[in-house]
Amino acid sequence: MIDTILFYLGIGLLFIGGVMDIIASIGFFKFKDFYTRLHAATVGAIGGGFYPLLGVALAVMGLDVDLWFKAVFSGVSLITAAIIALGVPAGSHILARSVYRSREVEPAVIADRLREDLEGGGSN
C-alpha cells in the first residue's frame, strides 16, 4: 500500500516538474529582459529540476526491484536535487550581480539608485 502511494506521488511530482519546465521555457523565450528572465530560470531550476528528482527518488522506492537499485537511484537523485537546490540560485545570483556591475545589460528602470551609489564617488 505504502509502495503504491510512494510510486504515484513520485510520478505526480515528475509530471508537475515537466509541466513547470515547459512553462518556464515559454517564459524564458517570451520575456524581454535579462533581469525578468531570471524569474523564469528559477522556475525552470526548482520546478523543472528539483521536483522531478525528488519524484524519481520517491517513485523508485515504491518499485519492485532489488535493494541496490533503489539505493543507487534514490541516492543519486537526492544528492543531485540537493546540489541543484543549493547551486543554481547562488549561481544565478552571482551571474546577475556581475552582469549588472559589468554593464552587460542595463536594467529598464526610471531611476537607478544603486548605479548612482556605485559610481557616485563614494567608497566603492
Binding site: D3, T4, F7, I11, L14, F15, G17, G18, V19, D21, I22, A24, S25, I26, F28, F29, F34, R37, L38, A41, G44, A45, G48, G49, P52, L53, V56, A59, V60, G62, L63, D64, V65, F69, V72, F73, V76, S77, I79, T80, I83, I84, G87, V88, A90, G91, S92, I94, L95, A96, R97, S98, V99, R101, S102, R103, E104, V105
Partner: protein
Amino acid sequence: MVSIETILSFTPVLAGLFTLAMIIYSLRVFTSKNLGDAVLAIDALTVDLIVLMILVALYYRTPYLLIGVIPLASWIFLLDLIVSRYLEKRRSK
C-alpha cells in the same frame, strides 16, 4: 509493490515533456543577444539534461548512466562562477 513495467509507460511521455522544454531553451541560446541570457539558458538546459539522463537510466534499468549526473550538477555552479569572474575582470580593464 509496483511492478517496474509500470514506469516504462510513463518515462517516454516525461522524456518528451523535458525534450520539448530543452528545444525551446535552445532556441533562446541561439538567439541571445548577450552573455547573461546564454549562460542562464545553458544552466536550465543542464538541469533538463540531468533529469533526462536519470529517466533514460530508469528506462533501460542500468545504473551506469548515473555516473555523470553529480559532476554535471556541479558544473552548473562552476559555469556561473567562471563567467561572472570573466565579466567582472572585463569591467575592470
